[in-house]
Symmetry: C2
Subunit: 414 residues, 2 copies
């Protein structure tokens, strides 16, 4: 049992001062109650907020942080990233993912949705660090039936392997420009059969959308609907270049859209997700950092700021409120994954972050949510699934991990 | 004497491992040299970089951080900020400025250019915290001769008072929509006579530019040139809505332009500073956070990221390199103020920041400058004018300051 004592607790948008008790992996009570806890956290001067969700990343790409900057996308992929990725192995994916897990935990993220190679190596990192995750088995078929068959077999095998870990699972057909419609149809079919999520890149660039229309004679979302790809299982990263009708269709099919503002700015995708239209249509919108190669951080605190500011910049200063970014990073995501997380409530999962209110850059605190979104929050404690994983801003074993990771990275890029 | 031992030293864009010795307020040597220093800093695992410059802020506005979010500009000013500013006093300006100074120091900023009321209260905060600053005496005349006369007298008095402090000085006519052309002309005249800088808001919004053209029948920069306002003394915050000819004129007159990307995004000014054009013309471009009410942070590390990403988003992924943001925040600014700061060089001012390289979110370090710009640098030590002011990320006395500030803020907003 854990007792969090004297925190400023964020309940929805309200702040209540009091105690939280945790039993097992759940929030047992919120209020005045104290009990004979094994662990007492003195949380005076700390705010208790729900753990944050990073709903689109490629965790292991921490190894490429700053590896190839300011290059044209094609050259970047062809000369730097792809040749390096050809040489990937389980060990480097495991260590780079573990580094990512710790980076996320230390910045208040308690759940991430990932897409990368060797998902069970990432699953091992997830279990060892205590973070929560949904991991994808990713594939491209490059419009070849043969590659599709091989890929589907690998995906099936990888999904099976992931069953051995404490993770949620997804199948990740990469995007419409790398996967055939048949590949997408079969992904949706398999997702239904295996009861897993679908993780997908949608309408990131104008080129993708224009070329799809040229090739298939219709808009992407319309075409995806025709093959039964759209459902509440689906998580669409980026979702930038969409028409109003497509956004409305996403809403009707209860598809989740993931805003990745930092990555979209860095890779200069040309415009911002049309969040005002998404909101009007009722699409469930989430936040993602994308990989460390195109960000180059995995902090959802950063991402909330970029989100609010990119939206204001694109659609007007009054078009977006800080609390909307906060909801994208918390309760919207919990809802999308069908878990009781993203809010602090009795009976919900004990995924809680304690943020230090006595920090210069966080003072004054006229508006806690505005400070959380804009003012470089300092994470003190992180609890996931009822276990304390970050204490005093520190993850136990981080030096050793850094050392192992650095050695392996050096070897890899030698 | 201070010896910084075993750092990774950023010399321009090159990294050299070695020692730095500091004598008085200057860098005495860079390289292998060790001496019998009074203070030895073990800098293994740290990068030594030049201190950062924040070239446009309103330091005391930390008191308004998160005070009035997501409101339309006019309502925000008229209902919230202006009524509060009517009640300002020296004590709150002093404490709010001091908080800002500590926030800046802790995030690696060693110099700021400020514009606010009661500049000598801010000067006191500057001296007590050890940061370097150029403080402005600000005024509006609202196109009234009478207000202009009163203002000029106050400005003269305030500039005189500032002579008693270890600060550089500027006169700050607010902007063309609040100050008459005669007020601007006299500002330039006084700046020449007193040998001080000019700090000014230029072309922040389209409205400002369109209305000026309507009123005066010409572009702002052209009109400013005709009254002798343009020179290397001049620091123009924002500089967003400018024509190519105006940018070229700024370059010819050696005017400094200050990019404030975060503020511009938050207040939705409609487009990004045209940096590619500025670069082509040869304008000296700097970075500023603007005040904490429209950011809501004073970290120039954040600002470099917003700068690089807003530029890439607006003008293409290859249009801007991380190192350009770093130069805006360092050597461009040192040059603008005519001081030997913004680079680590022998004989230059000892304004040095030590950044922790052994941080999860900073690893790997394929590219130090990319990490500094994008990956949430952790500031360990800050040295200004040869004095250690931040150690282990901590500013001596910060708790006491927070307490005093909080009490005063509570009283003020009661």
């Amino acid at each position: 049992m854990i007792l969090i004592q004297g925190a400023k607790i964020l309940l929805g948008e309200k702040i209540v001062e009091g105690n939280i008790t945790i039993e097992g992996n759940e929030i047992a009570s919120i209020g005045e109650k104290k009990d004979k806890s094994d662990v007492v956290i003195d949380a005076r001067g700390l705010a208790a907020i729900p753990g944050l969700f990073n709903c689109h990343t490629h965790a292991a790409m921490t190894m490429f942080r700053g590896y190839a900057e300011d290059m044209p996308l094609q050259e970047w992929l062809e000369k730097k990233i792809w040749p390096a990725e050809m040489r990937l192995n389980e060990k480097i994916v495991y260590l780079a993912s573990k580094l990512a897990c710790v980076e996320m935990l230390k910045s208040g993220t308690t759940f991430f949705l990932d897409m990368y190679f060797f998902p069970s190596a990432t699953a091992r990192a997830v279990e060892e660090t205590g973070i929560r995750a949904c991991l994808s088995s990713a594939f491209f078929d490059f419009f070849s039936e043969e590659i599709l068959e091989t890929s589907m077999k690998r995906v099936e095998k990888e999904l099976k392997e992931l069953e051995n870990f404490r993770v949620m699972r997804a199948i990740a057909p990469h995007a419409v420009y790398t996967v055939s419609m048949e590949g997408l149809r079969r992904s949706a079919e398999m997702a239904g059969r295996e009861d897993v999520f679908i993780h997908f890149h949608l309408a990131e660039t104008e080129k993708e959308v224009v070329e799809f229309r040229k090739k298939y004679g219709k808009d992407i979302v319309k075409a995806l609907d025709e093959i039964g790809f759209l459902s509440s299982r689906l998580f669409c990263a980026h979702s930038v270049w969409l028409e109003r009708e497509e956004i409305e269709l996403l809403a009707r099919r209860k598809v989740n859209a993931i805003h990745c503002p930092t990555s979209n700015m860095k890779l200069s995708v040309g415009k911002a997700m049309n969040y005002p239209e998404m909101r009007k249509a009722g699409v469930n919108v989430l936040l993602g950092t994308d990989g460390a190669a195109s960000n180059n951080s995995l902090s959802i605190f950063n991402e909330m700021k970029f989100c609010a500011l990119l939206q204001k910049f694109s659609y007007g200063a009054e078009s977006f409120k800080a609390v909307e970014a906060f909801k994208m990073a918390t309760e919207n995501a919990g809802k999308a994954f069908g878990i009781k997380a993203g809010r602090i409530e009795e009976g919900w999962l004990a995924d809680i972050v304690l943020v230090d209110l006595n920090q210069i850059q966080f003072s004054p605190c006229h508006d806690l949510i505005a400070n959380l979104v804009y003012s470089n929050a300092t994470v003190d404690t992180v609890i996931v699934d009822g276990k304390i994983v970050v204490e005093g801003g520190y993850f136990d074993g981080e030096e050793k991990l850094l050392e192992e990771f650095s050695k392996e990275v050096e070897k890899f890029f030698m």
